[in-house]
Protein backbone atom coordinates (compact mmCIF):
# COMPACT_ATOMS: atom_id res chain seq x y z
CA UNK A 1 0.00 0.00 0.00
CA UNK A 2 2.87 2.35 0.84
CA UNK A 3 4.51 1.46 -2.45
CA UNK A 4 1.26 2.21 -4.30
CA UNK A 5 1.02 5.57 -2.57
CA UNK A 6 4.65 6.37 -3.42
CA UNK A 7 3.92 5.49 -7.04
CA UNK A 8 0.85 7.76 -7.08
CA UNK A 9 2.73 10.67 -5.48
CA UNK A 10 5.61 10.31 -7.96
CA UNK A 11 3.20 10.26 -10.90
CA UNK A 12 1.42 13.32 -9.56
CA UNK A 13 4.75 15.16 -9.28
CA UNK A 14 5.52 14.31 -12.91
CA UNK A 15 2.20 15.87 -13.89
CA UNK A 16 2.90 19.07 -12.06
CA UNK A 17 6.27 19.27 -13.86
CA UNK A 18 4.53 19.07 -17.24
CA UNK A 19 1.64 21.50 -16.80
CA UNK A 20 0.96 21.74 -20.55
CA UNK A 21 -0.60 18.27 -20.40
CA UNK A 22 -3.22 19.66 -18.06
CA UNK A 23 -4.28 22.61 -20.23
CA UNK A 24 -7.01 20.64 -21.93
CA UNK A 25 -8.36 19.38 -18.63
CA UNK A 26 -8.30 22.78 -16.90
CA UNK A 27 -8.71 25.40 -19.62
CA UNK A 28 -11.23 23.78 -21.96
CA UNK A 29 -13.98 23.30 -19.34
CA UNK A 30 -13.47 26.85 -18.04
CA UNK A 31 -13.89 28.20 -21.57
CA UNK A 32 -17.02 26.09 -21.92
CA UNK A 33 -18.43 27.61 -18.73
CA UNK A 34 -17.91 31.12 -19.93
CA UNK A 35 -19.28 30.53 -23.43
CA UNK A 36 -22.21 28.17 -22.83
CA UNK A 37 -23.50 29.95 -19.76
CA UNK A 38 -24.04 33.08 -21.83
CA UNK A 39 -25.50 31.59 -25.01
CA UNK A 40 -29.16 31.21 -24.02
CA UNK A 41 -31.71 33.67 -22.67
CA UNK A 42 -32.60 33.22 -19.04
CA UNK A 43 -36.28 32.55 -19.89
CA UNK A 44 -35.50 29.90 -22.53
CA UNK A 45 -38.13 27.15 -21.90
CA UNK A 46 -35.93 24.20 -22.98
CA UNK A 47 -34.12 23.77 -19.63
CA UNK A 48 -36.74 21.95 -17.55
CA UNK A 49 -37.54 25.19 -15.80
CA UNK A 50 -33.96 25.88 -14.70
CA UNK A 51 -31.77 28.83 -15.65
CA UNK A 52 -29.52 27.91 -18.62
CA UNK A 53 -26.38 28.89 -16.67
CA UNK A 54 -27.47 26.64 -13.77
CA UNK A 55 -28.47 23.85 -16.11
CA UNK A 56 -24.96 23.71 -17.62
CA UNK A 57 -23.05 23.43 -14.30
CA UNK A 58 -23.26 19.64 -14.35
CA UNK A 59 -22.22 19.63 -18.00
CA UNK A 60 -19.03 21.55 -17.14
CA UNK A 61 -18.16 18.96 -14.52
CA UNK A 62 -18.92 16.28 -17.09
CA UNK A 63 -16.51 17.95 -19.52
CA UNK A 64 -13.71 17.78 -16.93
CA UNK A 65 -14.47 14.10 -16.27
CA UNK A 66 -14.61 13.26 -19.98
CA UNK A 67 -11.41 15.18 -20.78
CA UNK A 68 -9.52 13.25 -18.10
CA UNK A 69 -11.03 9.87 -18.96
CA UNK A 70 -11.13 10.01 -22.74
CA UNK A 71 -8.08 12.11 -23.58
CA UNK A 72 -5.58 12.63 -20.76
CA UNK A 73 -5.41 9.08 -19.36
CA UNK A 74 -5.44 7.07 -22.61
CA UNK A 75 -2.79 9.32 -24.19
CA UNK A 76 -0.60 9.16 -21.11
CA UNK A 77 -0.79 5.39 -20.62
CA UNK A 78 -0.45 4.60 -24.32
CA UNK A 79 2.64 6.79 -24.49
CA UNK A 80 4.05 4.86 -21.50
CA UNK A 81 3.51 1.65 -23.44
CA UNK A 82 4.91 3.09 -26.67
CA UNK A 83 8.09 4.37 -25.01
CA UNK A 84 8.76 1.22 -23.00
CA UNK A 85 7.93 2.67 -19.57
CA UNK A 86 5.32 -0.06 -18.98
CA UNK A 87 7.96 -2.69 -19.82
CA UNK A 88 10.23 -1.20 -17.18
CA UNK A 89 7.38 -1.50 -14.66
CA UNK A 90 6.72 -5.08 -15.83
CA UNK A 91 10.11 -6.19 -14.51
CA UNK A 92 9.90 -4.18 -11.30
CA UNK A 93 8.61 -5.36 -7.97
CA UNK A 94 5.28 -3.63 -8.60
CA UNK A 95 2.42 -5.94 -9.49
CA UNK A 96 1.05 -5.18 -12.94
CA UNK A 97 -2.13 -3.59 -11.69
CA UNK A 98 -0.17 -1.10 -9.55
CA UNK A 99 0.48 1.56 -12.17
CA UNK A 100 -3.17 1.76 -13.37
CA UNK A 101 -4.28 1.76 -9.74
CA UNK A 102 -1.89 4.65 -8.97
CA UNK A 103 -3.29 6.41 -12.01
CA UNK A 104 -6.80 6.11 -10.64
CA UNK A 105 -5.64 7.96 -7.53
CA UNK A 106 -3.77 10.60 -9.56
CA UNK A 107 -6.73 11.17 -11.88
CA UNK A 108 -9.12 11.50 -8.92
CA UNK A 109 -6.89 14.21 -7.42
CA UNK A 110 -6.73 16.04 -10.74
CA UNK A 111 -10.51 15.74 -11.13
CA UNK A 112 -11.16 17.25 -7.71
CA UNK A 113 -8.79 20.17 -8.35
CA UNK A 114 -10.10 20.80 -11.88
CA UNK A 115 -13.75 20.68 -10.72
CA UNK A 116 -12.93 23.11 -7.90
CA UNK A 117 -11.26 25.55 -10.32
CA UNK A 118 -14.23 25.24 -12.63
CA UNK A 119 -16.89 25.81 -10.00
CA UNK A 120 -14.97 28.79 -8.66
CA UNK A 121 -14.89 30.28 -12.17
CA UNK A 122 -18.57 29.56 -12.72
CA UNK A 123 -19.42 31.13 -9.40
CA UNK A 124 -17.45 34.29 -10.21
CA UNK A 125 -18.94 34.67 -13.67
CA UNK A 126 -22.61 33.63 -13.25
CA UNK A 127 -23.08 32.71 -9.61
CA UNK A 128 -23.93 29.13 -8.66
CA UNK A 129 -27.22 28.05 -7.05
CA UNK A 130 -27.13 26.07 -3.79
CA UNK A 131 -27.34 22.31 -4.64
CA UNK A 132 -30.66 20.78 -3.63
CA UNK A 133 -28.98 17.52 -2.53
CA UNK A 134 -25.26 17.99 -1.81
CA UNK A 135 -24.57 14.31 -1.08
CA UNK A 136 -26.28 13.29 -4.32
CA UNK A 137 -24.11 15.75 -6.26
CA UNK A 138 -20.90 14.46 -4.62
CA UNK A 139 -21.86 10.81 -5.21
CA UNK A 140 -22.74 11.54 -8.84
CA UNK A 141 -19.47 13.39 -9.42
CA UNK A 142 -17.28 10.73 -7.79
CA UNK A 143 -19.01 7.81 -9.54
CA UNK A 144 -18.86 9.63 -12.87
CA UNK A 145 -15.16 10.28 -12.35
CA UNK A 146 -14.43 6.67 -11.39
CA UNK A 147 -16.38 5.33 -14.37
CA UNK A 148 -14.54 7.58 -16.84
CA UNK A 149 -11.14 7.05 -15.22
CA UNK A 150 -11.65 3.28 -15.55
CA UNK A 151 -12.69 3.72 -19.19
CA UNK A 152 -9.59 5.88 -19.77
CA UNK A 153 -7.26 3.31 -18.24
CA UNK A 154 -8.87 0.49 -20.24
CA UNK A 155 -8.40 2.55 -23.45
CA UNK A 156 -4.81 3.36 -22.52
CA UNK A 157 -4.06 -0.31 -21.88
CA UNK A 158 -5.65 -1.37 -25.16
CA UNK A 159 -4.27 1.23 -27.57
CA UNK A 160 -0.80 0.80 -29.06
CA UNK A 161 0.44 4.39 -29.24
CA UNK A 162 -0.09 7.90 -27.94
CA UNK A 163 -1.16 9.04 -31.39
CA UNK A 164 -3.87 6.40 -31.73
CA UNK A 165 -5.07 7.23 -28.20
CA UNK A 166 -5.21 10.93 -29.07
CA UNK A 167 -7.18 10.19 -32.25
CA UNK A 168 -9.68 7.83 -30.69
CA UNK A 169 -9.94 9.95 -27.54
CA UNK A 170 -10.90 13.06 -29.51
CA UNK A 171 -13.29 11.04 -31.67
CA UNK A 172 -15.12 9.94 -28.52
CA UNK A 173 -14.75 13.19 -26.60
CA UNK A 174 -16.54 15.56 -28.98
CA UNK A 175 -19.75 13.56 -29.56
CA UNK A 176 -19.84 12.82 -25.82
CA UNK A 177 -19.31 16.52 -25.17
CA UNK A 178 -22.03 17.67 -27.57
CA UNK A 179 -24.62 14.98 -26.83
CA UNK A 180 -23.78 14.38 -23.17
CA UNK A 181 -25.13 17.62 -21.82
CA UNK A 182 -22.76 20.39 -22.84
CA UNK A 183 -24.53 20.73 -26.21
CA UNK A 184 -28.16 21.69 -26.77
CA UNK A 185 -30.58 20.64 -23.98
CA UNK A 186 -32.48 17.35 -24.62
CA UNK A 187 -35.79 19.23 -24.95
CA UNK A 188 -34.35 21.17 -27.87
CA UNK A 189 -33.07 18.01 -29.61
CA UNK A 190 -35.12 16.03 -32.10
CA UNK A 191 -36.36 12.63 -30.99
CA UNK A 192 -33.71 10.41 -32.63
CA UNK A 193 -30.87 12.65 -31.41
CA UNK A 194 -32.12 12.64 -27.84
CA UNK A 195 -32.30 8.80 -27.97
CA UNK A 196 -28.69 8.70 -29.12
CA UNK A 197 -27.80 11.14 -26.35
CA UNK A 198 -29.22 8.67 -23.84
CA UNK A 199 -26.80 6.01 -25.07
CA UNK A 200 -23.77 8.26 -24.49
CA UNK A 201 -22.11 7.39 -21.15
CA UNK A 202 -21.37 11.05 -20.37
CA UNK A 203 -25.12 11.80 -20.36
CA UNK A 204 -25.44 9.59 -17.29
CA UNK A 205 -22.59 11.40 -15.54
CA UNK A 206 -24.18 14.79 -16.23
CA UNK A 207 -27.68 13.67 -15.21
CA UNK A 208 -26.31 12.04 -12.03
CA UNK A 209 -24.95 15.45 -11.01
CA UNK A 210 -27.63 17.69 -12.49
CA UNK A 211 -30.74 15.97 -11.10
CA UNK A 212 -29.75 16.14 -7.42
CA UNK A 213 -28.29 19.65 -7.85
CA UNK A 214 -31.37 21.23 -9.45
CA UNK A 215 -33.98 18.79 -8.08
CA UNK A 216 -34.96 17.66 -11.58
CA UNK A 217 -35.75 14.02 -10.72
CA UNK A 218 -34.45 10.80 -9.23
CA UNK A 219 -30.98 9.96 -10.61
CA UNK A 220 -30.89 6.30 -9.41
CA UNK A 221 -31.08 4.88 -12.94
CA UNK A 222 -28.18 7.03 -14.16
CA UNK A 223 -26.13 6.25 -11.05
CA UNK A 224 -26.67 2.52 -11.65
CA UNK A 225 -25.39 2.89 -15.22
CA UNK A 226 -22.24 4.57 -13.87
CA UNK A 227 -21.63 1.76 -11.37
CA UNK A 228 -22.01 -0.79 -14.17
CA UNK A 229 -19.65 1.14 -16.47
CA UNK A 230 -17.04 1.48 -13.73
CA UNK A 231 -17.18 -2.24 -12.94
CA UNK A 232 -16.98 -3.27 -16.58
CA UNK A 233 -14.12 -0.91 -17.45
CA UNK A 234 -12.17 -1.92 -14.33
CA UNK A 235 -12.55 -5.60 -15.22
CA UNK A 236 -11.26 -4.80 -18.71
CA UNK A 237 -8.15 -2.95 -17.55
CA UNK A 238 -7.37 -5.51 -14.87
CA UNK A 239 -7.48 -8.23 -17.53
CA UNK A 240 -5.43 -6.21 -20.01
CA UNK A 241 -2.78 -5.15 -17.50
CA UNK A 242 -2.16 -8.55 -15.95
CA UNK A 243 -1.99 -10.72 -19.05
CA UNK A 244 1.42 -11.86 -20.26
CA UNK A 245 2.43 -10.96 -23.80
CA UNK A 246 1.97 -13.75 -26.33
Amino acid sequence: MRALLRLAITELKLFVREPMVLTFVFAFPVLTVVILGGVFDDDDPNFEGALPSDYYIAAYIGVVIAAIGLVMLPVHLASYRERGVLRRFDVSRYPRWALPAAWTIVAMVITVVAVAVLLATGHLVYGLPEPDDVIGVVVGTLLGAIAFISIGIALGMALPSARSAQGLGMLLFFPFFLLGGAGPPPDAMGNPMSSIANAVPLTHVVRSIQEPWLDLGNPTGHVAVLVGLAALATAVWLTLSTRTAE
Partner: protein, 317 residues
Protein backbone atom coordinates in the same frame (compact mmCIF):
# COMPACT_ATOMS: atom_id res chain seq x y z
CA UNK B 1 28.03 -25.76 -8.79
CA UNK B 2 24.25 -25.37 -8.55
CA UNK B 3 22.14 -24.38 -11.52
CA UNK B 4 20.49 -20.98 -11.40
CA UNK B 5 18.71 -21.29 -14.74
CA UNK B 6 17.61 -24.45 -16.53
CA UNK B 7 15.87 -24.33 -19.90
CA UNK B 8 14.74 -27.32 -21.93
CA UNK B 9 12.87 -27.56 -25.22
CA UNK B 10 11.78 -23.91 -25.16
CA UNK B 11 9.78 -22.88 -28.26
CA UNK B 12 7.94 -19.73 -29.19
CA UNK B 13 6.10 -18.98 -32.42
CA UNK B 14 4.97 -15.56 -33.70
CA UNK B 15 2.38 -16.26 -36.36
CA UNK B 16 4.09 -18.46 -38.90
CA UNK B 17 7.61 -17.63 -37.73
CA UNK B 18 9.32 -19.86 -35.20
CA UNK B 19 11.22 -17.28 -33.11
CA UNK B 20 12.61 -19.77 -30.59
CA UNK B 21 12.95 -23.39 -31.62
CA UNK B 22 13.68 -26.10 -29.05
CA UNK B 23 16.21 -24.10 -27.05
CA UNK B 24 17.91 -25.60 -24.01
CA UNK B 25 20.77 -24.46 -21.78
CA UNK B 26 21.80 -24.15 -18.16
CA UNK B 27 23.44 -21.29 -16.28
CA UNK B 28 25.31 -22.05 -13.09
CA UNK B 29 25.62 -19.94 -9.99
CA UNK B 30 27.97 -16.98 -10.29
CA UNK B 31 28.80 -17.17 -13.97
CA UNK B 32 28.40 -14.64 -16.76
CA UNK B 33 26.47 -16.46 -19.46
CA UNK B 34 26.22 -14.91 -22.92
CA UNK B 35 23.45 -15.45 -25.46
CA UNK B 36 24.90 -14.43 -28.82
CA UNK B 37 23.61 -14.12 -32.34
CA UNK B 38 22.70 -11.67 -35.04
CA UNK B 39 19.53 -9.57 -34.79
CA UNK B 40 16.37 -11.65 -35.04
CA UNK B 41 18.06 -14.85 -33.85
CA UNK B 42 15.60 -15.21 -30.94
CA UNK B 43 17.87 -14.05 -28.11
CA UNK B 44 15.52 -11.44 -26.66
CA UNK B 45 12.44 -13.67 -26.94
CA UNK B 46 14.29 -16.41 -25.04
CA UNK B 47 15.24 -14.03 -22.25
CA UNK B 48 11.75 -12.48 -22.14
CA UNK B 49 10.30 -15.95 -21.53
CA UNK B 50 12.73 -16.41 -18.63
CA UNK B 51 11.78 -12.99 -17.22
CA UNK B 52 8.10 -13.92 -17.34
CA UNK B 53 7.39 -11.17 -19.87
CA UNK B 54 6.34 -13.61 -22.56
CA UNK B 55 4.54 -16.94 -22.51
CA UNK B 56 6.38 -19.67 -24.45
CA UNK B 57 4.43 -22.22 -26.48
CA UNK B 58 6.40 -25.18 -25.21
CA UNK B 59 9.30 -26.15 -22.98
CA UNK B 60 10.45 -26.31 -19.40
CA UNK B 61 12.04 -23.32 -17.62
CA UNK B 62 13.35 -22.88 -14.11
CA UNK B 63 14.88 -19.69 -12.78
CA UNK B 64 16.12 -20.04 -9.19
CA UNK B 65 13.90 -23.12 -8.96
CA UNK B 66 10.77 -21.17 -9.98
CA UNK B 67 8.75 -21.36 -13.18
CA UNK B 68 8.48 -17.85 -14.67
CA UNK B 69 5.05 -18.76 -16.07
CA UNK B 70 3.46 -19.35 -12.71
CA UNK B 71 5.74 -17.59 -10.21
CA UNK B 72 6.31 -14.38 -12.16
CA UNK B 73 5.66 -11.97 -9.31
CA UNK B 74 7.88 -13.90 -6.84
CA UNK B 75 10.65 -14.07 -9.42
CA UNK B 76 10.54 -10.33 -10.01
CA UNK B 77 11.72 -9.88 -6.41
CA UNK B 78 14.75 -12.14 -6.99
CA UNK B 79 15.74 -11.19 -10.52
CA UNK B 80 17.04 -7.91 -11.93
CA UNK B 81 16.42 -6.89 -15.52
CA UNK B 82 17.73 -4.33 -17.93
CA UNK B 83 15.54 -4.43 -21.03
CA UNK B 84 16.45 -3.74 -24.62
CA UNK B 85 13.64 -1.29 -25.30
CA UNK B 86 12.51 0.45 -22.16
CA UNK B 87 12.39 3.96 -20.81
CA UNK B 88 11.39 6.01 -17.82
CA UNK B 89 9.03 8.99 -17.76
CA UNK B 90 10.89 12.01 -19.17
CA UNK B 91 10.50 14.18 -16.09
CA UNK B 92 11.42 11.50 -13.57
CA UNK B 93 14.67 12.34 -11.76
CA UNK B 94 17.46 9.87 -11.22
CA UNK B 95 17.11 9.71 -7.42
CA UNK B 96 13.32 9.44 -7.72
CA UNK B 97 13.69 6.48 -10.08
CA UNK B 98 15.85 4.64 -7.55
CA UNK B 99 13.40 5.35 -4.72
CA UNK B 100 10.41 4.43 -6.88
CA UNK B 101 11.74 1.06 -8.05
CA UNK B 102 13.61 0.22 -4.86
CA UNK B 103 12.19 -0.46 -1.44
CA UNK B 104 12.21 3.26 -0.65
CA UNK B 105 15.38 2.96 1.41
CA UNK B 106 17.25 6.17 0.75
CA UNK B 107 20.61 4.80 1.90
CA UNK B 108 20.68 1.87 -0.52
CA UNK B 109 19.60 4.27 -3.29
CA UNK B 110 22.47 6.59 -2.37
CA UNK B 111 24.93 3.71 -2.36
CA UNK B 112 23.90 2.71 -5.90
CA UNK B 113 24.09 6.32 -7.08
CA UNK B 114 27.68 6.46 -5.86
CA UNK B 115 28.58 3.03 -7.22
CA UNK B 116 27.27 3.83 -10.70
CA UNK B 117 28.71 7.30 -10.85
CA UNK B 118 25.26 8.87 -10.92
CA UNK B 119 25.51 10.88 -7.71
CA UNK B 120 26.10 14.18 -9.42
CA UNK B 121 23.13 13.50 -11.74
CA UNK B 122 20.70 12.73 -8.94
CA UNK B 123 18.52 15.77 -9.70
CA UNK B 124 18.68 15.32 -13.48
CA UNK B 125 15.57 14.24 -15.35
CA UNK B 126 15.62 11.02 -17.37
CA UNK B 127 15.11 13.01 -20.59
CA UNK B 128 18.31 14.99 -20.01
CA UNK B 129 20.57 11.93 -19.58
CA UNK B 130 22.95 10.75 -22.30
CA UNK B 131 22.76 7.19 -23.65
CA UNK B 132 25.55 5.99 -21.38
CA UNK B 133 24.06 7.66 -18.32
CA UNK B 134 20.68 6.07 -19.05
CA UNK B 135 22.30 2.64 -19.34
CA UNK B 136 24.11 3.14 -16.03
CA UNK B 137 20.80 4.12 -14.44
CA UNK B 138 19.11 1.00 -15.87
CA UNK B 139 21.90 -1.18 -14.51
CA UNK B 140 21.53 0.46 -11.11
CA UNK B 141 17.76 -0.17 -11.25
CA UNK B 142 18.33 -3.81 -12.24
CA UNK B 143 20.55 -4.25 -9.18
CA UNK B 144 18.30 -2.38 -6.75
CA UNK B 145 16.67 -5.33 -5.04
CA UNK B 146 20.01 -7.19 -4.67
CA UNK B 147 18.99 -9.80 -7.24
CA UNK B 148 20.58 -13.24 -7.46
CA UNK B 149 20.33 -13.17 -11.25
CA UNK B 150 20.44 -10.19 -13.59
CA UNK B 151 19.48 -10.12 -17.25
CA UNK B 152 21.22 -7.55 -19.44
CA UNK B 153 19.84 -7.24 -22.97
CA UNK B 154 22.01 -5.32 -25.48
CA UNK B 155 23.54 -3.41 -22.65
CA UNK B 156 26.10 -1.39 -24.59
CA UNK B 157 24.12 -0.69 -27.76
CA UNK B 158 24.68 2.91 -28.81
CA UNK B 159 27.41 3.59 -26.26
CA UNK B 160 30.74 5.19 -27.13
CA UNK B 161 33.87 3.06 -26.52
CA UNK B 162 34.68 4.81 -23.25
CA UNK B 163 31.19 4.23 -21.86
CA UNK B 164 31.30 0.59 -23.04
CA UNK B 165 34.53 0.06 -21.13
CA UNK B 166 32.93 1.49 -17.98
CA UNK B 167 29.90 -0.77 -18.35
CA UNK B 168 32.10 -3.84 -18.88
CA UNK B 169 34.06 -3.09 -15.71
CA UNK B 170 30.76 -2.66 -13.91
CA UNK B 171 29.44 -6.04 -15.04
CA UNK B 172 32.59 -7.79 -13.83
CA UNK B 173 32.06 -6.02 -10.56
CA UNK B 174 28.47 -7.29 -10.34
CA UNK B 175 29.70 -10.85 -10.79
CA UNK B 176 32.45 -10.37 -8.20
CA UNK B 177 29.68 -9.70 -5.70
CA UNK B 178 28.20 -13.11 -6.44
CA UNK B 179 25.38 -12.24 -8.85
CA UNK B 180 24.77 -14.50 -11.83
CA UNK B 181 24.64 -12.54 -15.08
CA UNK B 182 22.84 -13.41 -18.33
CA UNK B 183 24.12 -11.16 -21.08
CA UNK B 184 22.37 -10.89 -24.45
CA UNK B 185 24.58 -9.31 -27.07
CA UNK B 186 25.53 -9.21 -30.71
CA UNK B 187 28.93 -7.69 -29.93
CA UNK B 188 31.43 -10.53 -30.01
CA UNK B 189 34.22 -8.53 -28.38
CA UNK B 190 31.87 -7.90 -25.47
CA UNK B 191 31.10 -11.60 -25.10
CA UNK B 192 34.77 -12.52 -25.38
CA UNK B 193 35.74 -9.96 -22.75
CA UNK B 194 33.01 -10.81 -20.23
CA UNK B 195 31.42 -14.21 -20.64
CA UNK B 196 32.46 -17.45 -18.96
CA UNK B 197 30.24 -19.43 -21.31
CA UNK B 198 28.16 -18.49 -24.33
CA UNK B 199 25.39 -20.00 -26.44
CA UNK B 200 25.19 -18.95 -30.09
CA UNK B 201 21.67 -18.64 -31.51
CA UNK B 202 20.66 -18.59 -35.12
CA UNK B 203 17.12 -18.59 -36.54
CA UNK B 204 15.71 -19.53 -33.14
CA UNK B 205 18.05 -22.43 -32.39
CA UNK B 206 21.21 -22.76 -30.34
CA UNK B 207 23.84 -23.81 -32.85
CA UNK B 208 26.68 -24.24 -30.34
CA UNK B 209 27.58 -23.47 -26.75
CA UNK B 210 30.72 -23.46 -24.65
CA UNK B 211 33.42 -21.14 -23.38
CA UNK B 212 34.49 -18.44 -25.85
CA UNK B 213 37.85 -20.22 -26.19
CA UNK B 214 36.13 -23.53 -27.00
CA UNK B 215 33.99 -21.91 -29.68
CA UNK B 216 37.01 -20.19 -31.20
CA UNK B 217 38.93 -23.49 -31.22
CA UNK B 218 36.00 -25.36 -32.77
CA UNK B 219 34.93 -22.89 -35.42
CA UNK B 220 37.62 -20.28 -36.11
CA UNK B 221 40.85 -21.80 -37.29
CA UNK B 222 42.55 -19.28 -39.47
CA UNK B 223 45.29 -16.93 -38.45
CA UNK B 224 45.89 -14.19 -41.01
CA UNK B 225 48.93 -12.10 -41.82
CA UNK B 226 48.57 -9.12 -44.15
CA UNK B 227 51.40 -6.91 -45.38
CA UNK B 228 52.86 -5.15 -48.40
CA UNK B 229 55.57 -7.51 -49.61
CA UNK B 230 59.13 -6.27 -50.11
CA UNK B 231 60.04 -6.09 -53.82
CA UNK B 232 62.51 -8.94 -53.41
CA UNK B 233 59.79 -11.36 -52.23
CA UNK B 234 58.29 -14.02 -54.48
CA UNK B 235 54.76 -14.42 -53.02
CA UNK B 236 54.33 -17.88 -54.52
CA UNK B 237 57.15 -19.12 -52.30
CA UNK B 238 55.00 -18.33 -49.22
CA UNK B 239 52.45 -20.95 -50.19
CA UNK B 240 54.97 -23.69 -49.57
CA UNK B 241 55.71 -22.63 -45.97
CA UNK B 242 54.46 -24.86 -43.10
CA UNK B 243 51.02 -23.98 -41.76
CA UNK B 244 50.01 -21.87 -44.76
CA UNK B 245 46.63 -22.76 -46.33
CA UNK B 246 46.51 -20.11 -49.01
CA UNK B 247 47.98 -16.83 -50.16
CA UNK B 248 45.70 -14.10 -51.49
CA UNK B 249 46.52 -10.82 -53.17
CA UNK B 250 44.43 -7.74 -52.32
CA UNK B 251 45.65 -4.78 -54.35
CA UNK B 252 49.27 -4.22 -53.39
CA UNK B 253 48.93 -6.25 -50.20
CA UNK B 254 49.26 -9.93 -49.53
CA UNK B 255 47.14 -11.97 -47.13
CA UNK B 256 48.50 -15.28 -45.86
CA UNK B 257 45.89 -17.55 -44.26
CA UNK B 258 46.68 -20.63 -42.20
CA UNK B 259 47.27 -22.02 -38.72
CA UNK B 260 48.83 -20.17 -35.83
CA UNK B 261 52.18 -21.80 -36.63
CA UNK B 262 52.55 -19.89 -39.90
CA UNK B 263 53.40 -16.63 -38.17
CA UNK B 264 57.09 -17.29 -37.49
CA UNK B 265 58.08 -18.78 -40.87
CA UNK B 266 56.18 -16.17 -42.87
CA UNK B 267 57.66 -13.33 -40.85
CA UNK B 268 61.12 -14.79 -41.28
CA UNK B 269 60.74 -14.95 -45.03
CA UNK B 270 59.59 -11.35 -45.46
CA UNK B 271 62.49 -9.71 -43.63
CA UNK B 272 64.15 -7.00 -45.71
CA UNK B 273 67.91 -6.49 -46.18
CA UNK B 274 67.87 -4.12 -43.21
CA UNK B 275 66.60 -6.90 -40.99
CA UNK B 276 63.17 -5.21 -40.51
CA UNK B 277 59.80 -6.54 -41.61
CA UNK B 278 57.12 -4.75 -43.66
CA UNK B 279 55.91 -1.68 -41.70
CA UNK B 280 52.23 -2.46 -42.36
CA UNK B 281 52.37 -6.10 -41.21
CA UNK B 282 49.26 -7.07 -39.27
CA UNK B 283 48.45 -10.32 -37.50
CA UNK B 284 44.84 -11.37 -36.99
CA UNK B 285 44.25 -14.17 -34.50
CA UNK B 286 41.04 -16.17 -34.68
CA UNK B 287 38.41 -14.71 -32.34
CA UNK B 288 34.82 -15.23 -31.32
CA UNK B 289 33.57 -13.10 -34.20
CA UNK B 290 35.29 -15.43 -36.71
CA UNK B 291 33.78 -18.38 -34.86
CA UNK B 292 30.30 -16.88 -35.03
CA UNK B 293 30.58 -16.06 -38.72
CA UNK B 294 31.80 -19.61 -39.38
CA UNK B 295 28.91 -20.99 -37.33
CA UNK B 296 26.39 -18.91 -39.25
CA UNK B 297 27.83 -19.88 -42.59
CA UNK B 298 27.83 -23.54 -41.54
CA UNK B 299 24.12 -23.26 -40.88
CA UNK B 300 23.69 -22.17 -44.49
CA UNK B 301 24.22 -25.81 -45.40
CA UNK B 302 20.72 -26.31 -43.96
CA UNK B 303 19.40 -24.13 -46.77
CA UNK B 304 18.94 -21.06 -44.60
CA UNK B 305 20.09 -17.74 -45.98
CA UNK B 306 23.07 -16.28 -44.22
CA UNK B 307 25.32 -13.26 -44.51
CA UNK B 308 28.11 -13.21 -47.05
CA UNK B 309 31.37 -14.62 -45.67
CA UNK B 310 33.66 -12.08 -44.14
CA UNK B 311 31.00 -9.55 -43.29
CA UNK B 312 31.11 -8.25 -39.78
CA UNK B 313 28.24 -8.94 -37.49
CA UNK B 314 27.28 -5.33 -37.12
CA UNK B 315 26.50 -5.29 -40.80
CA UNK B 316 24.05 -8.16 -40.58
CA UNK B 317 20.42 -7.49 -39.92
Amino acid sequence: MSMVIEVEGLSKRYGSRLAVDDVGFTVSDGEIFGILGVNGAGKTTTVECLQGLRRPDRGRMQVLGLDPRTAGSRLRMLVGSQLQASALPDRLRVDEALLLFGDGDRRSADRLLEAWNLARLRRSSFASLSGGQRQRLFIALALLNRPRVVFFDELTQGLDPLARGEVWAAIRDVRERGTTVVLVTHFMDEAEALCDRVAVMRAGRIVDAGTPAELVARHAHSTMLTFTPPVSLDPTALAGLPGVHRVERHGGRIRVVGTNQLIAPVCASVLGDDGLGPPDLRVHHPDLEDALIALINDSDANGQPGPAPGRTLEGVS
